[in-house]
Subunit: 347 residues, 2 copies
Amino acid sequence: MNSSGNVTDTTHPVVQAPMAGVQNSTLAIAVCNSGGLGSLPCAMLTPEQTVDELTTLTAATSNPYNVNFFCHQQPVIDAQHYSQWLKLLRPYVAELAFDLPDEPPVEGGRQPFSHAMADSIESFKPPVISFHFGLPEKDLIKRVKSWGSSIWSSATTVDEAKWLAANGADVIIAQGYEAGGHRGMFLTDDLTTQSGTMALLPQIVHSVDIPVIAAGGIASAQSAEAAILLGAAATQSGTCYLRCDEANTSDLHRMALKDAAQYQHTAVTNVFTGRPARGIVNRLIREIGPIAAHAPAFPLASLAVTTLRAKAEAQGSTDFSPLWCGQNASGCEDVSAATMTQRLAGV
Amino acid sequence: MNSSGNVTDTTHPVVQAPMAGVQNSTLAIAVCNSGGLGSLPCAMLTPEQTVDELTTLTAATSNPYNVNFFCHQQPVIDAQHYSQWLKLLRPYVAELAFDLPDEPPVEGGRQPFSHAMADSIESFKPPVISFHFGLPEKDLIKRVKSWGSSIWSSATTVDEAKWLAANGADVIIAQGYEAGGHRGMFLTDDLTTQSGTMALLPQIVHSVDIPVIAAGGIASAQSAEAAILLGAAATQSGTCYLRCDEANTSDLHRMALKDAAQYQHTAVTNVFTGRPARGIVNRLIREIGPIAAHAPAFPLASLAVTTLRAKAEAQGSTDFSPLWCGQNASGCEDVSAATMTQRLAGV
């Protein structure tokens, strides 16, 4: 039913998941040059920074690559709701002896894909453009399609997969419940709809007639092979690459990823950004989460927490850090991204 | 690392999951006689009923079979907590025009495995005895081991797998988050610890040196093969068998299992029994769940809800029915259990 072909146009059907905040073009280049599809996360970059990164990337590899954007709606902040959120954070602010403004932020952190961004990247005509949280407006889709770019997006339910296939996606990433980082969910905010990869992947494969890439819990050549058996055209792994030499993962985050007692307990939480995302359970998740009713809408929750995090990390604490991680960190190792890509490819 | 061998001692490495309430020896016999391992759920049976069922089963098949018991602690009921629970249910009781006693139940529904039960089944020396919610007391384990029975139990985390291997289990069932029915969790009640099969299975396989059976989302020969690739010695499927001719699944439950809009949305809920279990999202889950703080401890929550359910089902409604179902009901079909077993075995 699915025309898999060589969906990634790479030597190995291995995609390095875009991971904003812990990697840049360095990791993507290493993956591209070792036969996988490297990804550049652009959600936290300005158009200028994106151009810089793409310039670096395209100078270092002639292989296909993926640029990733978010396509959320920018929220309108509710001042009263925000004050409830600050009330939750004040004890931590006091503990770390700094201060937070009472005023809610106007915008923050992550920008959705826009025509301004499209203007900036147009000359690169990226081979693959992947989106998280659905797809951008139709005119933007039409525009990037005109470049010949392949459009990918994540589905966390069968309904989302069908919607993406009907609305312009060329490839679907079936994001199982195991996956680290932000859930791509966009037709629902009900976490009970989120399925494990073993259940989600074959049901999506049977529901759409475009290629499906498996994500969530893929941490070895065996799990990649298992996903292919279930109909995946390729697999996407993120967590596996977090301890690679070319990632920017902080030392504190890397230490958590070496400690089974920590990495074997993750949770889907909204306390870091306002949207559900999977990370290692730490103090903030434990004390006000995993799902905090008063977390401001994505991405505005991240602003105050980012300050908290910086103060705590300066003292060597990960109490307030988003330690993004999937449910299978057993494949993480201090190796090069080339070694990891080959390991996932089983070569 | 794992000595898989032929852990089920059957033609196919396919286990039919024990499903109390929707099957008896008829389904188990059909599976046993078609080359899989049939299971007899005994948690809701008296010792006398269990003997009757085992007599029927052993007269109809000479192949190995599994008997399943729960091994929870019987709870002490908190009258005040229970009155809060009744307050939640009263509107439904009024709607269905009947009445519930104010007094909390003293016991109910499901009994843990006991010496009285062991007395009853001793002469059968069941080839496999599987437990849910950990393991029974050491003297009970010693007793059933003396019969030559293989002891199996479910693990939902790596910690639980290690505990089971250290405390007398011969085989571990890695129960992924996708699985329908009761979560086997026993070292924690924190649902964030529950992993998808793709992540849980290989991590358990690498953590213990006894055979591991995969459960959760296994709905086809392909998914069974994928689980074997990930190190499983066999696979266990429950949901797949729910629409089989030999199951006792109610017509209302079967109808829900034919409707993708229903079966593609399940949730882990405690509103039916007091313990987290996965079923199709219906009115009771939606309105007071999925996790109700005032649900009485397992199994006492089931008593009042069972009455509600009976009244509603008599009117053709599944509003209050536990429609147990995993996250992958796509393999369900109105076929014989022999056909389903062969399908899962890929023959």
